[in-house]
Symmetry: none
Subunit: 210 residues, 4 copies
DNA sequence: ATCTAATCGAGACGGTACGTCCCGTCTTCTT
DNA sequence: AAGAAGACGGGACGTACCGTCTCGATTAGAT
């Protein structure tokens, strides 16, 4: 007689994902084994393999199941402030413990598992990109964005520097760093009469080109 | 005294690294085993473990040993053109077969192996960043760069979008895409009288030195 | 419920033991590796380690599983003849090819593996000793044995010389040699009027059954 | 610079053998490696391999080099007493710590290494047997031994039971046990008017009862 | 309410690779 | 010339997990 009777379906799915996150946080993704998840979750390996085709797939689902603070854009009318708000939230969730190591590991996994890469894009990156582009479109219509700015590049330009910090240099990703990146991006690298962007401050009456 | 551990030592080292790249290209990093490298290189596992503490460390060394086309900056006087040249070269080497999969896998490995992450930064990323910053400093002194631009962010802003494309969306990284990113970055996202940047065209005599 | 762990369990066990004996005979115990047994038996190493904790334990089980000619004592009424019969059978089985080398190796293993030593005694030596003592008791009651003879020493005195020949001098252990030893033991080393023991000949009507 | 300069020849030989015994006593023969002996003795592996062809050969030499209390027979005129004295000495040396485990291991090694078996016989067993037979011959001439006793069997019959106790049952080998064996052997197993053997007492005038 | 089919926990199984130990040979440098 | 040091190819160790596979016990829905 086992302690708990066999529970089925969604029940099992959910408890396996919860265990995956727990165990992943404790020992790290690299040392996480399906065997160990099964043991800790009181599930059989079959039950896991029935649902997920790989460790990466399991982790992806587990992370997405967190249903953490929804990463949705506010619209206060100030695009830079809104980006800042949203990116701060994303950074808080994904670039800090306890989930940063797992999120990073997931991206690591995507480097040699095309299925994980595809699923990650489909279920997380693209939706996030869509929201960003939508919000930026509104801003462009309001004149807060250079009309020449190529929105297709938005995600790469906005997120790229942050992923770089997260994945490559692996230095701490602070709010202050996010702000500096945003300021630099809005100002541009090119030479011009230095019109100090006001974006680092609370929403000022936007759109005042002379 | 030669400085090298022994002739046969260096010999073995080199042949093991060559085999690692070969085999890694054939079967992919994930399925690459130290056992298999040893077998193909005609070396014993100990000989490999004597030199490298992990598969990641071995791959890092192997990739760096390629001594491929040196990724050094030209200085034609036009910063955008020079960045373009240099980044095109980097993309050709690292974001295309045969090395892209291994380079991606290496970064993947860095996500759960701090030693690999540290070595990657120390031996590849930081030197590359230093060269970039040096070249940008020259450009700033020549007025080709916004004096307000924070050079500490340069690598993140310039490389981030490319790594994003390489690691996250995993879409093809073309020269054309690089150019678009560069243009967008120099123009900036912020609204302003659209002074078309000249960077896509041959170096214009921008701000002569006094 | 069958009592056996599963049909396939017993199957595997049996085929591994058979392979052990085969391979052991071919290449000798010293060069016998669990790795090789696994490979030849088409089993995984884990399957072997699940059942046996060491090479010695595996060999012991394999040898005992032979269920060769049962080494049981006859009782013809003539103790010396019966000992001779039984010891001849034991010698034929354990002191000659194909099993002698493995049996010797097993005893060799017992010299540095207490578990093997204990198991060897418990499962082979002691049972054999018990049978011997039982048969000797009957003989003593019939006056065929010196009443002063210490039965606790029986195994050591009867088997010792044979193990000495087998393990130490490593000369051939012939039936003739066994007979000479038996004669000498029954006669004793001490001086006395040489009453020729009849034991070297067919059972003479010594002490008729009542 | 090493602490001690390279010493040569016999010096090295002797220190390696000493280390072998030391280390063998500490960790047991099974876990004793030539690598470890070399390290502890401050010798190179070559130096060991130059002198000994196997671990067994090294151990044999090391044990024989002890030059312990010479196992030579006294001749007090009482054969049983002399055997007792000599065997007690042998047991004290070889069947007790610290050398028993190594001696047993050596015999174990002889079971799968014919070279060790041959050397063990040639250099230890046979010489010992010769001494025994010589002493027994004297005793026979003095009428202390059955004239029918086959001296070729002497070693097997006298030593066999002790080796049995040492190698097979692996129970403690006490002086008392030795005495009981001697008594039983001299008395013989066969039935006869129970003439209590006097062997446990000082040499009584042997020679048969009329 | 019973039966049947799906699902589960448990864990054996063949397999691959791990990282380690030690083998016996070899090369190099030291004394 | 002899030795210390230790690199080297090789073989095996015992372990960890992989993904697949029985095997009964449990459970839910169809009868």
């Amino acid at each position: 007689m086992t302690g708990t009777p066999h529970r089925r379906g969604a029940d099992r799915t959910e408890s396996i994902m919860r265990t995956t996150l727990e165990l992943g946080q404790e020992i790290g993704y690299a040392r996480l084994s399906i065997e160990a998840v099964a043991a800790r979750a009181g599930a059989s390996k079959q039950t896991i393999y029935r649902r997920w085709s790989s460790k990466g797939a399991l982790l992806l689902d587990s992370l997405l199941s967190m249903n953490g603070p929804r990463l949705d854009y506010p619209d206060t009318g100030d695009i830079v402030a809104d980006l800042r708000t949203q990116i701060h939230a994303a950074v808080d969730l994904l670039a800090r413990p306890p989930f940063a190591p797992l999120f990073k590991a997931l991206i690591g996994e995507a480097q040699h598992d095309p299925q994980v890469a595809a699923a990650l894009n489909e279920r997380f990156i693209t939706p996030q990109a869509d929201k960003t582009v939508t919000r930026l479109k509104t801003a462009r219509d309001q004149g807060q964005l250079s009309p020449a700015f190529d929105l297709d590049l938005a995600m790469a330009i906005l997120s790229g520097p942050l992923y770089f910090q997260l994945l490559i240099t692996q230095e701490q990703l602070t709010h202050e760093y996010v702000d500096r990146i945003l300021d630099a991006l809005f100002a541009g690298m090119g030479p011009r009469p230095h019109t100090p962007t006001s974006h680092a401050r609370p929403p000022s009456p936007s759109v005042p080109p002379a």
